[in-house]
Amino acid sequence: MNSALVSPANHAVAQSASVMDVGDGFLLPVLLKIAFVLGLFFVVPLVGGYMEHKVMGRMQHRRGPVEAGPFGSLQLVADGIKFIQKEDTIPRAADKWVFAAAPGVALVPAMLIFLVLPFGPGVFAVDLELGLLYALAITSVSVLGVLMGGWASANKFSLFGGLRAGAQLIAYELPLIIVAITVAVQAGTLSLVGIVEAQSTFMLAGTDINLWYVFPQFVGFGIFFVAAMAELSRPPFDMPIGDSELVFGYMTEYSGIKFAMFLLTEYGGMITMSALMVVLYLGGWQLLPGVPLPGCDGAGGLFDCGFLGTVLGVAVTMGKILALVFVMVWARVAYPRLREDQLQRISWLVLVPLSLLNLAVVTVFKVVF
């Protein structure tokens, strides 16, 4: 935190300093960043998975996941061991290379998004000027892995699962990108750190009440949340893997570690989508609207927080992320699966027009006030 961040109100030039930037060397910061991103990727989704096990266990009165080990923490370990010792089967008719590559093509983009996500004051690997666009662009590549897996399995259920996934991801990507762009318009920057910064100085027109973007853009937040769940094929949007008709969709033929990679993609996606929502709408690492972290004295109390402030900031961000993950799990338990036509209808006839309207209204307000 020693490299002082001077971030003026115009965040177009803000290239914030990260805690990862130690010294002037090239190799050490880069290695640190790689370790940081990999560590995040392999730890945080596991926390999400642990939470899903426990929450679903409680909500569905299935005691197993709650009882295994202290606080149910060994359930995930047991799952991991099970996945590793399973035989790695490849169907004889399958296209071996494409089949083997598909989980990787799905997993790597999910991993790469962690590069730009800010988890606290200065706690991020890089602050790209185009951070938001980067996150959205990388997300859109994951579909390829799903389509590859669905086709290469040489199985009609898998193929249908892949097709449904492709159609669903294309349909819901559109409203997702439009509402994300709306936030960028309001903030005047595409940098994720810049958006958090812009929220700390965003005031209700004519007053000095600080607001997060979730208040003026609650419609956008709702659309983002629904579209994010659909992008991740999470129930109630899990038509691609609808087990009552397609066995397990594009994952039907996968077993062992490759199946685990698809699962990890989903949990990683839950975390990254939630983290994006926290950054775009929920003020990042701010405690409450207008309440900066204690001990921070950078721009708007967002940077230079000292050790305690930084740790607290990470805790606040993680708390918000896990709260959103909890709601996703809750929705999974509470709602039945949508039919394919309902699913497409919601996106094209409701979410896309609403998100365009949201963009228009926000743009007009931005110019007028």
Partner: protein
């Protein structure tokens, strides 16, 4: 040779290799996947040349949307599942068109920028790009989007065409998805009357 050159050569080799695979592959889906790799490689080339915005747009539009739609269409219509091959036997024509385009484009680029040297490659900021597109070049930009819109409407018209090579099949499908078929005169009404009721109901429960 600097580190940048090394990276550029590696990315370019990857892209060229994927492009060659795209046109030589006997399997249609493999060709489409190689095309996706080629497009991603092009994004990599842009990235090495400090055109970050272009690279990301290339990724989101061409890899995330175009290549995915390509694969989607292939799987929906004619892709053989698994390892079977499908080949249109159009290599000669394709080579002629691609060769002609290559000569034309490289000639144009060399004629226009052949003598220009760039000392230091720096990327323009997103702000500069935005102002350039929406202030200086807004008319061509809007014209392009009109072109895309026209292509879109044309594609929908083609897809919704009522009489085609498989007119009878199309009509049965229409009834299956719940459209109210027209009862006015003409060939279609006759076809409707002659289609047994059991055939119409078949598949209605999917």
């Amino acid at each position: 040779m600097t580190g940048l050159d090394v990276v550029f050569v590696l990315v370019a080799l990857f892209t060229a290799g994927a492009a060659v695979l795209t046109v030589t592959s006997k399997n249609l889906v493999h060709a489409a996947l190689s095309l996706a790799a080629t497009l991603a490689g092009t994004a990599g080339v842009f990235l090495v040349l400090h055109a970050d915005f272009l690279a990301l747009v290339q990724l989101v539009v061409n890899v995330g949307a175009v290549a995915v739609l390509f694969l989607f269409g292939l799987m929906l219509t004619r892709a053989p599942i698994g390892r079977e091959a499908l080949d249109s036997q159009n290599r000669g024509l394709g080579l002629a068109v691609a060769g002609g385009l290559f000569v034309l484009l490289s000639g144009l680029i060399i004629a226009a920028f052949g003598t220009t040297t760039v000392e230091q490659v720096t990327g323009a900021s997103i702000e500069v790009i935005g102002i350039a597109i929406f202030a200086d070049w807004v008319l061509p930009f809007e014209l392009l989007s009109m072109l895309l819109l026209a292509a879109l409407i044309g594609a929908i018209m083609l897809a919704r065409r009522e009489t085609g090579e498989s007119g009878e099949e199309a009509m049965v499908t229409r009834i299956d998805v719940g459209d109210t078929p027209t009862t006015e005169g003409g060939v279609r009404a006759e076809l409707e009357n002659t289609t047994p009721a059991g055939q119409l109901g078949a598949g209605g429960d999917r």
